[in-house]
Symmetry: C2
Subunit: 253 residues, 2 copies
Amino acid sequence: MSISTAPSRFNSKLTSQCQNCSLSALCLPIALADEDINRLDQIIERKRPLKKGEILFHQGQAFDSVFAVRTGTLKTFNITASGEEQITGFYCPSELVGLSGIDNNNYPITAKALETTTVCEIPFSHLENLTSQIPSLKHQLFRVMSRKISDDQQMMVLLGKKNADEKVASFLLNLSNRFKKRGYSATSFRLAMSRGEVGNYLGLAVETVSRVMTRFQKNELIEVDGKEISIINLSEMQKLVGIADDCARIADI
Amino acid sequence: MSISTAPSRFNSKLTSQCQNCSLSALCLPIALADEDINRLDQIIERKRPLKKGEILFHQGQAFDSVFAVRTGTLKTFNITASGEEQITGFYCPSELVGLSGIDNNNYPITAKALETTTVCEIPFSHLENLTSQIPSLKHQLFRVMSRKISDDQQMMVLLGKKNADEKVASFLLNLSNRFKKRGYSATSFRLAMSRGEVGNYLGLAVETVSRVMTRFQKNELIEVDGKEISIINLSEMQKLVGIADDCARIADI
DNA sequence: CGCTCACTTGATTGTGTTCAAAATGTGTGG
DNA sequence: CCACACATTTTGAACACAATCAAGTGAGCG
């Protein structure tokens, strides 16, 4: 469970931090031979932590790397023609950000830290070269990108078809699943993002997010204390987002 | 401009249909040596045409292949828990469908023909093997998937932030761009999908789509004759969706 | 020719937005 | 540590946009 963040080890080329990283099974969920993990490890740069509000990369900036979040949280957003920000995703530890930059060789979105955040920088050209030597790495990369495509499509369903209650419930359950996957509580967690950011992401006004959460609390579905959320009635929440027994991923945003 | 669809050539393993295909520069926009194109060509199966309403693959079905549309149009959709269909995309010639199936080894969506449609089936395991021999093919595949991710994110912006007028205008301009890319008129084209399908895709009711189009026609932005659309005032339409000069892709859904 | 389905148009309703203001929380400098 | 400024969240009231309900029109097809 210990994640090395000591400054002395930034950019360390010592043997396999990846191997010791608690996130290794998730970030690129690779069944790699030790030797291969070492090779992967060598191309990865550990960056100094980003402080809250700091930017990892800018929309339009030349694409070099994808990044794996180690600790903290990022948001990605797009500045629209009218100048407002549209959040396209939140990224928790073990998740990969920047994949949308490959196509045009520049990032189409900005990535910003919501709190103190550390990331592993993975120079994409190195990663791509490495896939020639490690076929299973290539396959995992295809899988990660494919997964992102299906997730985004579920998000489109959410934005296009769901009402405010369903949107907020889906959002909370999605976070819950992501915490659970990393070994944290699925029912009690802290939101790294503001209500405004939640609303922006879900296509709702701040006020609506606040009202929905208050109502959920009144109906004893959740307990809210500022950014701390506890899901009290998980099964009722799941009903709300319309989980079909045979299609659990629908809830997974 | 001639695309061979004669039945006698289905599954033909003769030399390089890909090379002669008018879509070759788009489908996997590859600068491949002739020899490499032949290798790609050999793993591709030309399927018999799908009739309107026929299904290419089902949600939940085991994933084998991605498909390139050669002629016609497909829609992909997701059946939600409540049983309604949410359209996640329309696919025109040269576009690749099925990439979201890689992750879980099954398709998370259904693909259905909107009109008579021919596709090239590309068995993914073969394609993946081929990428080991042709690095530029691998890179193109990463690019295509990356592009899909950015496009979907633009779609999220549309669904989350735009009003009915902007949604419909973005949709029409997006189609316009896609026709243009393939050498067809950017201002005059036929919709393969019904108003209902447009609405479903854009998160709008049928009636709203119809009203917006009627209004656009009254304002002399477009001319509508059933499924035939002509964009009369392209620049005004672009203003409507909020194209920033420095960020043209924003309109590109 | 008659049936069905898709599309259009109108009237009404409702969900979520917007505007406004108060309450709560957070960070900073003295 | 407190006081102050500022941001975030909550709550209330009025409004607006798009959905829904309903009816009518038109096109395609057996």
